[in-house]
Every structure is written in structure tokens, then in C-alpha cells.
Symmetry: C2
Subunit: 346 residues, 2 copies
DNA sequence: GTTAGCACTCTCTTATGGAGAGTGCTAAAA
DNA sequence: TTTTAGCACTCTCCATAAGAGAGTGCTAAC
């Protein structure tokens, strides 16, 4: 473990580097952060810290920059959470005043926008995951001859619809019968759990008393139920990275933006936070995916009816203002959960 | 008007510049494009073309580059439409094989993806505009106590839904009555035409025989009808610009990407093509909006049931491969219209 | 254990001097 | 009158060099 003086020096270096983005030298530390020792002593300590893996040196005669291990120590033990400014709080609170918020998706859109604006990084959110919710109600609405609208309502108040084309005409009462059977058999199941097995069981029962039109209809319906498992992605502030010196290199910027274009990758990254209760901070090489090994990700989850259903977070360079971002993400996630229950229960 | 030799030279310069992105000199033209005159003569002609506004010179001792006026002349009179390669055709046709295409939005998503991949520019599409379609059917589905699901079906087979929370409980038969009145009064109207006037007219009739709960319910419904007018935007290949030398300057790239983040601006830009029957090419300063005055946009529309309902296109530098992109966009838009009618009528 | 002094290293910026590409002009050729 | 060859001139781009600046590591003294 690091002794107190080493910790102080490490903290000073990281704090400074987060602000300046320049390698930090011993003189700077001695001058700006009065620890009461001379640059020479600091140099010795820095040399130790480098050997222990907390710092790195871009080249021989440069100052030090934090390694991922250094950031990890900083995040776990050293940083002091920054209080939100009144302005930041106002911005987050104001999300609820935005007139277009009529559902969770509008809320997410506004929230990611605010998140990127006040952090000045790129924000990402994963929409409510249908497969994590349970089926509450399924309704079949006749539209015209062979067209039927399937509406799914889940226990978290989410609604999805799908327009189906059946191979033959089906009467309204037939539709109602199918609805009833499905509701009877499947409601209460998590949508992700509606497997082929379950489906073929339901199918068997229906065969007992119905025509083959009926049979085809339900098969089609059930097949579609399963497709509805990919969730929407919200993204904001992608161009914020151009303010950061680490992305002044066009190839770095390109690489970063390529990540943001890869929806699947982003979903995977965001899903990581589903396990944890609170905020998840992933620093550089700690990321599972090669593409973002020089980025840090800070995510948290949001809940509907007490159940974790999606996540939201920030992507940026490893030199991230962790203290600020963590505070903001935490506050914003609390605010969001409140707003969600307000939206769903008003 | 330009004489034939000037046209030949202009075409050669633009063709060359589109490939190389370097100012084109008289010697290059004489060597690569055998027009049968010496560099000196070409220089004189180039000087004329510059004076007439078709060419520009980055600095005294550089070759010439096309001006926006030059590109306009090229696009209108000089360029030969390039035939699609078998591979390009295959890529476009294969859109229909993608398994997830169950509706217009999935189709648009796949199509923009393919468009950006084969053009190597950024592709954009505007989703079906609800306000341009007419209301066919409105259904109110009871979900639980005060919750009601409103489903809108339009004449183009588009469906939208919205979960409403009513201030008081409403019985199922009341809901049905409201549905009937709304369908009676509003179906057949373009959704964009459902104005406050129309709404208050409907409201008056309802007041005649219904309670105030009823009144509030319908007001709420109708207010929501109008919100449903902003349409979805599809974007793909934003990072393609990093392959282009004109965006090697970080500020240029940033500016371009900022445009793509401004959804409203993109919608406006794409809406421009709604007037025209065919493909619309907008070159650099021809653009209405300051932000994209150094970009070119090539768009076309797609139809549902013969009615223009959305648009799709490509955004790139003014030095765009117009000939290639126009061919691709045209073919792709035809293909799309076919697929749409297949999706809606299968 | 801590500090001052100093030589050394590496980057970054600025200046310099061709090389290269292309033009415009002039005068000769067609 | 139109076209072309020749040539001086201009501007960019690139490589090289030099010097400033920042910071280190080491040694020896405190």
C-alpha cells in the first residue's frame, strides 16, 4: 500500500493532469500543491510510483502521467466527490420541464442531452430492455382484412406494437380468443423467457380447438414477440471530444467516433453496469473491448418499479474528471428514477 | 455559354479533382486527358474559366479547383451517369434479405447503412412523416384503471401508439364512444391538418352528451395527436468523412459532425427534396443553411401508396463523386419503393 | 532522509533553404 | 488570329538545423 506522502503526491499529479492534460513535473507539484517537500524529494517519490505502476513517463525528460492503475487508485481511494453547482442541479431538474416528455424514451433523450452538456463528454443511454420486463397484457387490434395490430404492455408500463399481416382473414372474435389464450398462458412471464419451448406448449393447446388459420396466426405472433428484445440507444455530445487535446489526433478521434457508431458494442458496454447496484467506473484497459481500451466509461442504471431496466452513462478519455462526472451521474440517475415513477404513475 | 473546348477542359478538371482532391494544372490535363492542345492553350482557357466563375485558384502558383458554379455546370451538363457495378446492385438488393426488416423503419435503417457503405459518404434518411399521412383509424385500448393506450393507424399503414394517463377512470364503453366520435370526425384528415380549430369543433359536439371526464379525456387525446408530427432520423457512416482529405483538418471534421448532431437542421435539409419529383442535388453555397455551405447534399424521396412520405440521401464534400452517387441514390430509391409496397401489402 | 546543483535528454518551435509544381507573360510559329 | 514554346516568378511543402524550455536522474552536501 502507498504511504500517505505517496498518496498525496499521486493525487496531486492526477488532479493536475486531469486539468492540464500535460505531463506533470516535480516542480509543478512542489509549487502548486504545497506538500512541504522539495522537488528533488518529489522526484524520488515519483520514480517509486512509476516503478510501482501508478505513473508513466511519455519520454525520459518529460513529467509523469497517470497509468490506468493510477487512476484506479485515485478513483477508489483518493478523489473527493465534487459537489454539484446550483447550475448543474438546475439543468438536471429542468429535464422534467421539457414539454415533450411523455414517456421513458423522451425522458432518456432529454437526460442524455443534459448529461453530455454538463459533463462536456459524450453521454450514452440504453433504453428500457423489454426482455427484462414481464408481459402484462397483449392486445390484438383488427386494422383491415388481414392486418392485425399486436400491442404488448409490460408490467413496467412499457408499450410496444407491431403491425402483422396474417396469411388469411381472421374474425374479430377469433382474435379475441387468441388474445385470451396468450394472455392466459404468457402474462407474468419475462419477455426474454418466452422460449420456443413455451411457445410450442401454447401452440399445442390451441391446436386442440382451433383451425389452422388460427394456428398460423399465433405462430406468427409468438415469433414476433421474441424479436422485440433489442433496445434503443441514446447518444449525445459526440462532438464534445473535439474539445479534448487527446483527440486532436485525427486517428484517435476517428477511432472514438467509430465506437459510437457501433451500436452493438455500445449496448454491450452499457449492459456491464446491470450487475452492479451503484455506479460503475471502467478505466481504460479495464474495458473488455479492445476498441475502448483508451477510454473510460462511467455508468449507472435506472429502475422502473424497483427493477433495473436500463442504463445511462458517460464515455470519455481516461483523463476524465471522475469526481465531477460521478457526482453528476449519481444525482442524475436518482432524479431520473423519480421522474420515471412520476411518468408511470401520474 | 461555354464552347465545346472549354466544356471539355472543365469536365477534365472536375473529373480529375474529384479523384485526386489536388488542384489540377494545365500539364496534367494535357497529359491525362488528350484534348489535343498544349498546356499553354489550356492555361489560357483555364484563365477564362476562372474569370467566368467556374474555377478557382487556391494561390497564385497552384492549379485550379472547381467552384460551386463549376460543379453545378458539371452536374447539369457534363457528367455521365456511372453504371452501377454488379456488386453495388447486389448490396442494394440484399437489403430485403436482412432478417429484421418488418417495417418501414427497419427498412430505412438498413438502407441508409448500405447507402453509406457503397457511396463511402454519410447517408441520412427521414422517416415517414406522420403529418403527411391521413388518419385512418384511432383505437383506444384500456390498460389499467386510468391508463389508456391510444393507437393511431394511418392510410399508409403506419402505426403509432401512446400511453395516456387520464385524470379519472373511464369505462370501456365510454372509451369506445370517444373512439367512435374521433374516427367519425377526424378520419380521412391529414394528421398535420388536425388544427386547434378542428379540435374545438369536435370538442363542442362531445360536450353535448358527455360528462366532463369525457371532455378532459378527449382534449388530452387530441393534444397528443398533434405532438406526433416529428419524425425519426436515420444516420449512417458519419466516420466515413475521415477518409476524405478535406476533413483532415480537425475543425472541418468537427463542423461536419456538428451538423449531423443537429437533428432539426438535418430534417430541414432533407425536407427540401420533398418538392421535387426526382433527385435533388445541392452544391455547397446553394445550401440554405450556413453550416453546410461547404458540403453537397444529394437526396431523393420515397413513397408509400404513391405518396411522398420521406426522403433519403447522402451528405459529403462538394468534391463528391456526383456521377456515382446520383446513380446509386436513384437505383436505391426505386428499390426502396418496391420493398415498401411489398412490406405493406404482403 | 532530504535537498541543491548540474549535466543530460527530449520535445517543440522557428528559421532556412532548396525542390517541385504551376502560372502568366512574351515572343515566335502556324 | 490562334496556338505554342520558353522562361522568370510565385507559392507550398519538406527536411534540416538551431535554440529554448521543461524536466529528469545522479551526486554530493546538509
Amino acid at each position: 500500500m502507498l504511504d500517505e506522502r505517496k498518496q498525496k503526491i499521486l493525487k496531486a499529479i492526477i488532479d493536475d493532469f486531469i486539468i492540464t492534460a500535460e505531463p506533470v513535473g516535480s516542480r509543478t507539484i512542489a509549487r502548486k500543491y504545497n506538500i512541504g517537500i522539495s522537488p528533488a524529494t518529489i522526484r524520488n517519490e515519483m520514480s517509486d510510483l512509476e516503478e510501482m505502476g501508478y505513473l508513466e513517463q511519455p519520454h525520459t525528460s518529460a513529467g509523469r502521467i497517470p497509468s490506468d492503475k493510477g487512476y484506479r487508485f485515485y478513483v477508489d481511494f483518493l478523489m473527493k466527490l465534487r459537489k454539484l453547482t446550483p447550475e448543474e442541479i438546475k439543468n438536471i431538474k429542468d429535464v422534467s420541464l421539457y414539454k415533450k416528455i411523455n414517456g421513458i424514451e423522451e425522458l432518456l433523450e432529454q437526460t442524455t442531452k443534459v448529461l453530455s452538456q454538463i459533463t462536456r463528454y459524450t453521454s450514452v443511454a440504453l433504453g428500457p430492455q423489454l426482455k427484462k420486463t414481464t408481459l402484462k397484457h397483449l392486445q390484438l387490434v383488427p386494422v383491415e382484412n388481414k392486418r392485425v395490430l399486436m400491442v404488448i404492455v409490460t408490467n413496467s408500463g412499457l408499450v410496444e406494437h407491431k403491425l402483422l399481416s396474417l396469411p388469411k382473414n381472421v374474425t374479430e372474435s377469433d382474435l379475441e380468443r387468441v388474445s385470451n389464450i396468450i394472455n392466459d398462458k404468457l402474462s407474468g412471464l419475462a419477455i426474454g423467457d418466452i422460449s420456443d419451448d413455451v411457445i410450442s406448449n401454447v401452440k399445442k393447446e390451441i391446436i386442440g380447438f382451433s383451425s389452422d388459420v388460427f394456428d398460423m396466426a399465433i405462430e406468427f405472433l409468438l415469433k414476433n414477440l421474441q424479436i422485440y428484445t433489442d433496445s434503443k440507444l441514446f447518444l449525445y455530445g459526440t462532438t464534445n471530444i473535439f474539445n479534448l487535446p487527446e483527440f486532436r489526433d485525427i486517428e484517435k478521434a476517428r477511432n472514438f467516433l467509430s465506437i459510437l457508431e457501433d451500436k452493438e458494442l455500445l449496448c454491450e458496454i452499457l449492459s456491464n453496469s446491470f450487475m452492479s447496484k451503484d455506479i460503475v467506473i471502467t478505466i481504460g484497459s479495464e474495458n473488455k473491448y479492445q476498441e475502448i481500451k483508451n477510454c473510460s466509461v462511467i455508468t449507472t442504471t435506472y429502475k422502473i418499479n424497483g427493477k433495473t431496466i436500463g442504463s445511462i452513462g458517460v464515455v470519455g478519455p481516461t483523463r476524465m474528471e471522475y469526481s465531477k462526472v460521478v457526482s453528476i451521474v449519481r444525482f442524475l440517475s436518482e432524479n431520473m428514477s423519480q421522474l420515471i415513477s412520476k411518468i408511470l404513475n401520474n
